[in-house]
Symmetry: C2
DNA sequence: ATTAATCCTACTTAACTTGTAGGGTTAATG
DNA sequence: CATTAACCCTACAAGTTAAGTAGGATTAAT
C-alpha cells in the first residue's frame, strides 16, 4: 500500500468567531501610542499643559502618563516646569518633530540584530528595505502634519 | 528669580558600549526567521528532507524546528511523510509561495487592534499605510526570488 | 519486531509590557 | 514660611509573549 502522505491542510476557514486581521506587520506598543497621543495633545496647546490634563484628554492611565512624559523630556522632545502652573510643552515646533523622533524614544534601541545563516541570509536585504521605507515615512511625517490632515498623502 | 525650567536633555551620546541601531520598525520573531530559513532550505531540495537536516543546516534548535515545520504543514505550505525516508517538502512550487504566506503562519493573527482616541486617531491611517506597503512587498517576493538573488530590486 | 521518522500536547523559563507605588523636589500663593 | 499642586525619580508587580523543551504517540520501511 502506498504511503499515506500527509497533505497540507487547506487554510481553516469558517469557525472564526470574529474578524482578526492577519499580521506580518510592525507592532506598536501602547506606550508608543500614548506617547504620540500626548505629543499631539501638547502640539495642539500653546502653553504648558498639566500631565493630568494630557492623561485625561488622551485616556492614558495617569501615572503611566507621568512616566512617559518624563521619558519624552529626557529624550529632548519636551520641556517642563514644576510647581503650580507647571506643565509640559514641546521643545521644538510641531512641524519639526517627526513621528520617528517620538517612536525612537519609546521603542528604545534594539539589541544587535541576530544574524541568520545560510539560506535565510539573503532575507536581511529584505528586512533592510522594509526598515528603510518605514523609517523614511515616519521621519517625513511630523506632528504638525498629523494635526493638519488625516493622513499625509 | 525666574523659574528654573527644566530643559530637554540633549540626546546622550557617548557612553555607548556598542552600536545599537534605533528601532521603530517591524519586529521579526525568531520563530518566523526559522520558518523562512526552513522553507528556503526545502525550496533548495527537490525531494523530502528530514527535519533533522533542516535544523542542522539552518542552525535551528531541533525540537523547535519540528514544532515549526508541523505548523507550516498544518497551514498548508508543506507536505510530509512519516517513517524512515520520510521528511518534508513544499506543498507548492517555490515560485508560488511568498514570504507573506510564511510569515502569516508564524506570526499568527492579531487581536482586534485597540482604537486610540482623540488626537491620536489620525495615526491609524499612517499605520495602515505602513502595513499595506509591508504586505505588498512581502506578498510579492517569493521563495524562488530569494533563492535567485540577494534582494529583489 | 525494530527503528527512524513525523506528530501532538503540554510545559517551562526568561524577557517584555503595562502599568502602580511611594515618595522626593520645585515653585506659586497667602 | 507653610501649604499645596505640580513635576521628578526609582522600584516593583502582574500579565503576556517568546523561545524553546519534554514526553511520548503514531506511522512506515526494513
Amino acid at each position: 500500500m502506498s504511503p499515506d502522505r500527509l497533505k497540507a491542510r487547506p487554510p481553516d476557514q469558517g469557525r472564526r468567531a470574529f474578524f482578526r486581521p492577519s499580521r506580518e506587520s510592525m507592532r506598536i506598543s501602547a506606550r508608543t501610542q500614548y506617547a504620540l497621543a500626548a505629543m499631539l495633545a501638547l502640539a495642539e496647546a500653546d502653553g504648558p499643559v498639566h500631565a493630568e490634563r494630557v492623561a485625561d484628554s488622551q485616556e492614558i492611565p495617569r501615572r503611566f502618563c507621568d512616566n512617559i512624559l518624563l521619558q519624552l523630556r529626557r529624550a529632548g522632545l519636551l520641556n517642563s516646569q514644576r510647581g503650580p502652573d507647571g506643565g509640559y510643552w514641546l521643545a521644538r515646533p510641531a512641524a519639526e518633530i517627526s513621528l520617528a523622533d517620538v517612536i525612537r524614544v519609546t521603542e528604545g534601541v534594539e539589541q544587535a540584530t541576530r544574524r541568520f545563516p545560510r539560506a535565510a541570509a539573503p532575507l536581511d536585504a529584505i528586512w533592510e528595505r522594509l526598515r528603510d521605507h518605514e523609517h523614511a515615512l515616519l521621519s517625513e511625517v511630523t506632528l504638525a502634519d498629523v494635526m493638519s490632515r488625516s493622513a499625509s498623502s
